[in-house]
Symmetry: C2
Subunit: 225 residues, 2 copies
Amino acid sequence: MAPKAYYSIHPKFHAAVDCIIFGFEEGELSLLLLQRDFEPAKGQWSLMGGFVEEGESLDDAARRVVAELTGLSDLYMRQVHTYGDPGRDPGERVLSTAYYALVDIKRYDHALVKAHNAHWVKLNEIPHLIFDHDRMVQDALRFMRYQATVKPVGINLLPEEFTLTQLQTLYEAILGEPIDKRNFRKRIASMDYIEKTGRIDKTLSRKGAALYRFNREKFDGNFKI
Amino acid sequence: MAPKAYYSIHPKFHAAVDCIIFGFEEGELSLLLLQRDFEPAKGQWSLMGGFVEEGESLDDAARRVVAELTGLSDLYMRQVHTYGDPGRDPGERVLSTAYYALVDIKRYDHALVKAHNAHWVKLNEIPHLIFDHDRMVQDALRFMRYQATVKPVGINLLPEEFTLTQLQTLYEAILGEPIDKRNFRKRIASMDYIEKTGRIDKTLSRKGAALYRFNREKFDGNFKI
DNA sequence: AATAGAAAGTGTAAATGCAACACTTTTCAT
DNA sequence: ATGAAAAGTGTTGCATTTACACTTTCTATT
């Protein structure tokens, strides 16, 4: 076994997680940001974060922190990067691991979000954030965009059932460019894991649009990344 | 400013870096692994790692750890992922950030590697490693393979000047599949940042092969990822 | 001096995937 | 009855990728 000194001669650090929480509304991506009514950096904007506790994995800490703010515990989340420069937190040294989360904006707990003084902010209206959170957002956005091109993670931003128009608008928001409707629908049609539910949504058009659903089993079977 | 208690009520953790060091020889990728002659886990195989010290960034710690083993301080390195499950290190709780490094196998310091009881091990001969190092290797390999498909990071595994045959063999090793010579050379010819030096290598064939070099300036100009 | 061996180097044609492009259908509110 | 608004639907050209085999050059050997 290792002698205690093997570990104890080395320093320890606070560990935190910071979460880039993406939502989708009005055809645009938004982030859930805190206007901090607490120290440190009271009054400034930041990501939702929190310290890692004893016996808690990084992934669990990120899930807990996001659930504290949104009330949602079943979100799609991915680790992005760990930021460890000395001085990145001017108070004490903290290593922070960034995670991104994808939220169906119809589902989050409005009361919790309000209690934290958090707000959905559209991507192109994001204010300057504290510490290195601006960079975290850039890194998370790039990573999420990349993932969205190789697997349908974006679907986690939509309700369980969605129309192809919603899906296309979402991908236009994620990629930041318009997509041809016919080419888009051709591509979706070739993905057997995006399947018609048979139900029709009539809230957005007179004609009504077919509702689709993501079939995780078919996807996991056909696809490995 | 933040009250001290904001930080001090939270636990601190040891922070480490573990390095997946790739090399290329005999047409195959290898990793530089330690056969540990020290505790913990003496006698077993592991990645080269080390603790993060006060005032040292994660990137700096990773560079230091790789330099301790190879003597090389100018390597291409990238952060892969941070592993923070409680119990991942059976001794004490340690958060470990994995980095991969690419080494020109002609350049490393043989004495240092020998002193650490380290060995180059071909990818398909890798023994079971301690803790979660097996998973780190899998994650690093996937990440490095992906990066190699979008930018020419593989070139960091070759000497300053290299032949097209060497480059092709390297990419075959990275991607794990054979590549057609004519198609490969057509693609390389379209990359103006891989340029002929005018020099000829005669060590590998009677006829001699043109030596090429990576032009970082041309690449950075033409290409953004 | 001839030659055999070994790696370097070179072009074309078919197939596939991707991008561009505009009109019809359906339904409901007026 | 009709106008408005969104849903839905195929084809063609272009570019990229893949498949495929022989010639050149040099030197070590005989």
